[in-house]
């Protein structure tokens, strides 16, 4: 969708939410759901940062690490891409304690989401690094940079710009995936919705609100990432990049 349609949809979603929250039949639900949305946002934010870190580390390890490290990175990537997020979540939640590692549900939630997204992200980072033309490596060698210097100063800055759009998709997937943490008792937006639903049985009302809230957050994320993408490519042309 074009940027303008996205903004249009966002305005529509926020408008609907604002209107609903003035109506009597929705009024009681709003505070509870917004409270849950706050948890959803917090988990999304922390897991996004961690996922990005995991992705960069895993991609660099996979591309440039010593052989055993390279293998370790591959195992991590294949394992978390190859299994289902829900299975990973439940494994950390139910199985890990049996190995004597009891983590708080919130930690488990953040860890599962970030490890999972980080594995997908590692492939994004790798693809972006490999998409930087080989001439950039050669020019770096010609001015006698080491591989590390070339990677840090020349290749990664260019790769970062290339990876903004796929990371936008990953962050949206991450946001959507946070709904699963309700299944391990984290009181996120989905958890609150299910709770309200079981008490009031006003399914249509509650879930309409919840869908609108998720839609709003998703669209805002999309707009932020599009903005970043635009700024980065304009930065290449005009302003400063770093």
């Amino acid at each position: 969708m074009g940027a303008r349609s996205i903004i249009g949809m966002l305005v529509g979603a926020i408008g609907l939410l604002a209107w609903f929250s003035t109506l009597e039949r929705f009024r009681a639900f709003m505070p509870v759901l917004l409270h849950g949305a706050e948890t959803t946002l917090r988990i999304t934010a922390i897991a996004s940062v961690l996922a990005f870190a995991f992705a960069i580390i895993a991609a660099l390890a996979r591309l440039y690490g010593l052989l055993p490290i390279r293998w370790l990175a591959r195992v991590y990537i294949e394992m978390f891409r190859g299994t289902s997020l829900l299975v990973q979540l439940f494994w950390l939640y139910f199985v890990l304690p049996e190995f004597g590692m009891s983590l708080a549900p919130f930690t488990v939630a953040v860890l599962a989401l970030s490890l999972n997204t980080g594995a997908y992200g590692a492939e994004v980072v790798r693809a972006a690094i490999e998409a930087v033309p080989s001439g950039q490596w050669e020019a770096s060698t010609a001015v006698n940079m080491t591989r590390t210097q070339a990677l840090r100063r020349i290749i990664l800055p260019q790769a970062l710009i290339l990876m903004i759009p796929p990371w936008g998709n990953l962050f949206i997937e991450l946001l959507k995936a946070t709904a699963l943490v309700s299944l391990i008792t984290i009181p996120d937006l989905t958890f609150r919705a299910l709770e309200l639903n079981s008490i009031t049985l006003k399914t249509i009302d509650i879930f309409t609100l919840v869908l609108l809230i998720y839609l709003t957050i998703s669209l805002m994320l999309t707009i932020i990432m599009r903005g970043l993408e635009g700024a980065a490519s304009r930065g290449l042309a005009r302003g400063r990049v770093h």
Binding site: M1, S5, I6, M9, E78, M79, R81, G82, T83, S84, L85, L86, V87, Q88, F90, W91, F94, V95, E98, F99, I172, K176, A177, T178, A179, L180, S182, L183, T190, A193, L194, N197, T203, I204, F207, V210, L211, Y214, L215, S218, L219, T222
Partner: protein, 219 residues
């Protein structure tokens, strides 16, 4: 020892039975996703009257969690007098959810068809339906098969969600087995292994298909 082979062997048969349901749900969902996705992509090309509402629908479905969509249909459909079992609701939801992703895949395939092909079809006086069926789709679909294959794997990995609408697929079964015996290590780890193996095998298969398609277009 943390891992008990005897228990692992004990839970294997029920898990394998559940795996059959997982595979069945995957294939049914993919069938919906692939066909509905194609319908969405083609309808969107037929003019702004369709394009507008469909784009909003697609963006909406892509932007909200599958889990919520599943709960929503599971709880709401009965209020309209439609009572479906969990598997049907779940498969429908996954199918529709991934149809919106497949629609985008088909769209890139369709957009890569050179204008000349459309113009040639017009020049031959072919109808819209014939043009799509005999000229455009046979060219547009093969290149996107690998991308569709990736969504097949995506759907496969989404099926554990079915456990929340009371479908006894792999994950749900493993959880029940775990709660009965208070031992989660074996069932959940086995489920993870099953997913890993199936994903790796399918990814290899997709790569093979991709190579085959490349050879066909190059050679």
């Amino acid at each position: 020892m943390l891992w008990e082979w005897s228990y692992a062997l004990e839970v294997l048969p029920p898990l394998l039975r559940a795996a059959a349901i997982t595979v069945e749900a995957t294939l049914l969902s993919f069938a919906i996703a692939a066909s509905l996705g194609l319908a969405l992509a083609v309808l969107r090309m037929l003019g702004p009257m369709f394009a507008w509402p469909l784009s909003i629908f697609i963006e909406f479905v892509r932007s909200t969690p599958l889990l919520i969509q599943m709960f929503f249909l599971y709880f709401v459909l009965p209020q309209f007098g439609v009572t479906l079992d969990g598997l049907t609701v779940g498969v429908l939801t996954i199918g529709v959810h991934y149809a919106t992703f497949c629609a985008e895949v088909y769209r890139t395939g369709l957009e890569n068809i050179p204008r000349g092909q459309w113009e040639a079809a017009v020049a031959l006086n072919l109808g819209v339906f014939t043009t799509f069926k005999d000229v455009i789709l046979p060219q547009a679909i093969p290149p996107v098969v690998p991308a569709l294959g990736n969504y097949l794997i995506g759907i496969f990995k989404a099926t554990p969600l079915l456990s929340v609408v009371a479908v006894l697929e792999l994950m749900g079964t493993a959880k029940i087995l775990g709660s009965e015996s208070y031992r989660y290590v074996e069932p959940i780890t086995l489920v993870g292994l099953f997913f890993l193996i199936m994903s790796l095998v399918s990814a290899t298969a997709i790569r093979a298909v991709e190579r085959m398609l490349n050879r066909r277009t190059v050679g």
